[in-house]
Each structure stands twice: as structure tokens, then as C-alpha cells.
């Protein structure tokens, strides 16, 4: 295991961050309306750019940044090597509450923006107008959407919401954006806004984080009730009630391992033994 590297980039809290593909650059939001892009220089990080936003995701292959903000705006930033500048492109979100989360799809031709307006805006590029346009996933979300994760097939989207439920939607965009995906464990007919699964672990709590397993055949979510749950297509669900404080973020490292991090200052590894999690 490599030792932890600690870098102090600024003196305030960091509210969002995203790395580029080879981890040589990082975009961070220092708890204001800016995004600062740092590049790794030897042992430290140098500030190279400043953009104005609050939630960030970095598309590894196409090297684009998407940022969304509480002022209901989202921009896609393209790096232009000639001028050495990040150029924003407008995104038509049509939401009337703050954007809370943003995530590129695996193929990087779409991204999804979660919002407090009880909708998820699935955005794709409109060649004709040279802007990013969106379609809304609306039903049956009853409250603010707090987290998103894309299925590896680029079509299914998981969402965790403040109405205590984690859901799996189809975010299939017709007309050339998406090819018909092969059948998955979550279903084979997937028009836009198909609900492939709706999960609640019973005892409630906001869903802070959702994550598909690497194969996409399982969905993990963590709630504010200090429990993590692993749900499978068809409705099977297993909850692990913890003695610690709630977890805010989940990452699958393999089909049988999940790393969770939250209010407890330390990341924790969960493992699926044959009996369960």
C-alpha cells in the first residue's frame, strides 16, 4: 500500500473535487463560486486555472470538465491547447432549484445533473445549436436528488434522493445519442424514464450516495441512518446497520468490496463473504 499523500491547497474546506484521467491534475472547489485547477509539480500542486462553479466531474477520455452550481447553471468546459484556456459551453438545464450533483456517463457523450427541483436533467450535446440540451427524469422522485451513478452500459442511471429512496432509471436518449443497449439484469426494454428499481431500506434517512458495482449488477447506497444497503435487480436488498456515523460516499473496488467514507474521518472497507455483507 502506498503511503498517503497530504497536500494543503488552501485553508478553507473543499466542497468538491475531481481528478483527470492520469491523476496529474485536480479540480477543486474551495467552498465558493470558483473551481481551481491544480497540476502536479513534483511534490506539490500548482494552481493553473480558475473557473466559477461548485460541483465538478472530469471526463477522463475527452478531457472535459462539467461543473454545476447552486445558481442552477451548469457548464461544460473544453480545454483548448492553442490558447491554453478552458472554454465554457452552455447547458440548457431548465431546473428551478439548485443543482446538487453532476456525473459524466461512461462514454462521456451524456451527463446527468441532480437537482433540488425533484428532477434529474440528463444532458446530451445538440450539434445543431452547439449547446448541451437536457431531458428530465421526473417521476416518481419526491424530493431533492443528492447523488447519481451511471451503469457501465451508459444507459442506466442510479439516483439517491432525500425522499429516503434509491432508484434505478433508464436515461436512454433516442436519435443517435444512444445505441440500444444489450439486455441487463435490470431489464431489456428501456425507454427513457423506465424505473428499473426502487429501493428503501425501511428505516429511512436521506440517501447520500449511490454506486453501481463494476459489472452494474448490484447497487449500493448509503443513507443518513448509518446503514449501507446493497440492492439487486428484482428487489433483493441487504442492509448493514453500523455502529458508526453515516457514510457519505461509496466506491466499489471489485464485485465483492466496497469502500465507504463518511463522518467518521476514516474510510472503511466492506467485504462480501459468502454469507453476506
Amino acid at each position: 500500500m502506498s503511503p498517503t499523500e497530504i497536500h494543503q491547497l488552501n485553508f478553507g474546506p473543499i466542497t468538491a473535487h475531481a481528478f483527470n484521467k492520469d491523476r496529474t491534475q485536480v479540480a477543486v472547489c474551495p467552498n465558493n463560486n470558483e473551481v481551481q485547477i491544480y497540476t502536479k509539480a513534483g511534490k506539490g500542486w500548482n494552481l493553473i486555472h480558475t473557473l466559477a462553479e461548485v460541483r465538478i466531474d472530469w471526463a477522463p477520455e475527452s478531457n472535459r470538465l462539467v461543473t454545476s452550481s447552486q445558481d442552477r447553471n451548469t457548464y461544460v468546459w473544453n480545454f483548448e491547447p492553442e490558447t491554453n484556456e478552458w472554454k465554457p459551453t452552455l447547458v440548457l438545464l431548465r431546473i428551478n432549484r439548485a443543482a446538487t450533483f453532476v456525473r459524466w456517463s461512461p462514454l462521456e457523450n451524456k451527463f446527468a445533473v441532480a437537482s433540488g427541483a425533484r428532477v434529474i436533467a440528463v444532458c446530451y450535446f445538440d450539434e445543431e445549436h452547439n449547446w448541451w440540451t437536457s431531458k428530465h427524469l421526473k417521476n416518481p422522485i419526491r424530493s431533492t436528488v443528492l447523488s447519481l451513478d451511471w451503469h457501465p452500459n451508459n444507459v442506466l442511471l442510479a439516483a439517491g434522493s432525500a425522499d429516503f429512496k434509491a432508484r434505478v432509471f433508464s436515461a436512454f436518449i433516442k436519435g443517435g445519442v444512444d445505441q440500444k443497449p444489450p439486455p441487463t439484469a435490470w431489464g431489456d426494454k428501456l425507454p427513457f424514464n423506465t424505473i428499473c428499481g426502487e429501493f428503501s431500506n425501511g428505516s429511512g434517512g436521506w440517501i447520500h450516495s449511490v454506486a453501481f458495482s463494476p459489472s452494474g449488477d448490484a447497487l449500493a447506497f448509503s443513507g443518513h441512518d448509518s446503514a449501507i444497503s446493497i440492492a439487486y435487480p428484482g428487489g433483493a436488498i441487504q442492509s448493514v446497520r453500523l455502529t458508526s456515523l453515516p457514510y457519505l460516499s461509496l466506491i466499489w473496488t471489485s464485485e465483492k468490496n466496497i469502500i465507504a467514507a463518511g463522518y467518521d474521518f476514516t474510510p472503511v472497507l466492506f467485504e462480501n463473504t459468502n454469507e453476506g455483507w
Binding site: 428505516s203 434517512g205 441512518d225 446497520r241 453500523l242 455502529t243 458508526s244 456515523l245 453515516p246
Partner: protein, 156 residues
């Protein structure tokens, strides 16, 4: 600060209601009457356990199947009284071993009742007992147990 007293929910047409966040154990809401009856039979059972000196089973019976629901207020009150009776009749030295016996779910429910008891000191004036239980239960079940009591809409 008069704006604080404005009921902003009444201005929202599409408001998220309590009932939508509530998950009933088998999908149907229990009527207040049958919930009250269940608690009554439970009370008798608990008393039988207590007279036989079987405090473990008295506690488990008292906290099992709480009358969850949006309208089961009477049943909840009665059940809380039963649990309080059991908690105060158990010796302080027995508490650590007892809480270890309980399952995760049972620990969560017990914590709910401890907080419920502390929230109405006029009815259940035994905060010394409750604080003692709270301390011992937290040692075993951790702060996660407390977080679940706060977030869970299935109140007791």
C-alpha cells in the same frame, strides 16, 4: 423575523407528505384500534414474564413489534408505559449483559424507547434509569444506533 412563521408548505402544491416517507412493515397501515389491542395483549404477556422474574423475555416482548403508524398514538403511549415499567424493574448491574443479547434491530427499537421516555419527563419521570440504559446501550450499539433513532420516521 416574522417571515419565519409563514407556513411555506401551504404555498407548495406538490408537497412531500409524512405518509409518503413512511414504509409500513407489510405495505398496509394498521388501524389504531387493532394496534391498541395488540399492545394490550402484549402488556399482559410482559407482566407475566415480570412476575416470573424473566426480565430478558419481558424486555424483548415489550420492544418487539412496536405499534408503528401515523395514527396509532394511544397504542404508542401504552407501549411506552410498558417498556418504561420493564426498564425500571431491571437491575442496573444486569443492563450490560442484556443489551448485548439483543439483535441490532432490537437495539435500535430500545434506543427509540429510551429517547421517547426522555422526551416526556412528565409521564415517565425516571431519567436516571433511562440515562443509565442509554449509556450502556451506546457502548454496545454505537452512535449509529442514535443516528437511526433520529432519522427513522417509524417512531414509537
Amino acid at each position: 423575523m416574522s417571515f419565519r412563521s409563514i407556513d411555506i408548505d401551504s404555498l407548495d402544491e406538490d408537497i412531500l407528505g409524512q405518509d409518503e416517507l413512511f414504509v409500513f412493515s407489510n405495505g398496509v397501515e394498521i388501524t389504531p384500534e387493532s394496534a391498541a389491542n395488540n399492545v394490550k395483549t402484549k402488556g399482559i404477556e410482559v407482566r407475566n414474564h415480570l412476575t416470573r422474574g424473566d426480565t430478558t423475555n419481558a424486555l424483548i416482548t415489550a420492544i418487539e413489534n412496536p405499534p408503528y403508524g401515523l395514527h396509532t398514538i394511544d397504542a404508542k403511549d401504552q407501549n411506552t408505559t410498558i417498556v418504561m415499567e420493564v426498564l425500571s424493574s431491571i437491575k442496573a448491574t444486569d443492563i450490560p449483559s442484556l443489551v448485548k443479547l439483543l439483535s441490532r434491530e432490537q437495539q435500535d427499537i430500545l434506543m427509540k424507547y429510551i429517547y421517547r421516555g426522555m422526551s416526556s419527563p412528565d409521564k415517565h419521570n425516571n431519567s436516571t434509569v433511562l440515562l443509565n440504559w442509554h449509556e450502556k446501550l451506546t457502548e454496545v450499539a454505537g452512535v449509529g444506533c442514535i443516528v437511526r433513532v433520529i432519522t427513522d420516521r417509524k417512531t414509537v
